[in-house]
């Protein structure tokens, strides 16, 4: 079973991920790719509290995840792959573009230098260009916070 959702969300694991997407997609495993969390057992404990027992939760650094994408893609578990930022997703796509054909922008919030593109998507011009580059390399990028809202294709994100 391919990875059923590749999501960029700077809040990492929260209700939209676990409930909003997890239920309708029948997610059986969430893989959080984040170097900081992968190195912190107490942060991992925090995120485990947000995930029901029937969903497996794994933590991986960018390097670890890059090496395991092919295994996850071939695995039977319906998997949601989550990063907290664009550079991490770019690195994963570079490692295995077949595993990450569609990229979901779920939540990229305000920071200095970013401007609002959608209510839940703020990007700098450089970040917008990086996402365009991802599409040029074969990925389909769209924004959608939860399944009940309409997806917005990258080309329609101002």
């Amino acid at each position: 079973m391919p990875i059923v959702l590749c999501r960029i969300d700077d809040r990492l694991i929260h209700g939209q991920v676990v409930l909003g997407w997890g239920r309708p997609l029948g997610v059986q495993r969430i893989i959080l790719v984040n170097d900081e969390v992968a190195a912190s057992t107490w942060e991992q404990d925090l995120y485990r509290m947000a995930v029901p027992a029937e969903i497996d939760l794994e933590f991986a650094s960018t390097a670890e995840a890059s090496a395991r994408l092919a295994d996850w893609r071939a695995d039977a578990l319906r998997t949601l792959l989550l990063t907290g930022d664009i550079p991490t997703m770019l690195a994963l796509h570079a490692a295995d573009g077949q595993a990450l054909r569609a990229i979901n922008l779920g939540g990229l919030h305000h920071r200095p230098g970013r401007r609002q593109r959608l209510p839940y998507v703020y990007l700098t011009d450089d970040e917008r260009a990086e996402l365009a580059g991802l599409e040029q390399r074969g990925a389909e990028v769209s924004a959608q916070d939860v399944p009940t809202t309409a997806a917005v294709a990258l080309q329609d994100i101002p």
Partner: protein, 124 residues
């Protein structure tokens, strides 16, 4: 305690402000509670909002869910701060009790607020 406890309510959307407005309307006690919303911010910004609201003194932090971004941001920044006690599952009954018992230690005020909140959950 010389300084009354500060209460901080951390919730999704506009829930914290609405709960505080209701608590103030019931009790008449103003400025005992501060709202924090997770709207339009990443985790770092949410953590900053929480720290700014809690300040340096004793506090009880009420969070809406026992998981999710509000709780994770709260625990991430208040870990190792014994003068700040975190309570999840906030409801109006908790806050109404809390504003009248801000002379207690954070742990004691939190325990009695939780008891009040639980007593308010019934199938009448």
């Amino acid at each position: 305690m010389s300084e009354p406890l500060r209460g901080v309510v951390v919730c999704h959307g506009r829930m914290a402000a609405a709960l505080i407005e209701a608590a103030e309307g019931i009790t008449g006690v103003k400025d005992a509670l501060l709202p924090v919303s997770n709207t339009d911010c990443d985790r770092g910004t949410l953590e900053t909002r929480i720290l700014d609201a809690v300040g340096a003194g004793p506090a009880v932090v009420f969070v809406d869910l026992a998981s999710g971004s509000c709780l994770i941001a709260t625990l991430a920044r208040l870990r190792g701060r014994p003068e700040a006690t975190v309570v999840t599952g906030v409801n109006l009954a908790m806050l109404v009790d809390f504003v009248f018992h801000r002379d207690q230690e954070p742990g004691a005020a939190a325990e009695r607020a939780v008891a009040a909140g639980c007593r308010a959950i019934k199938v009448p």
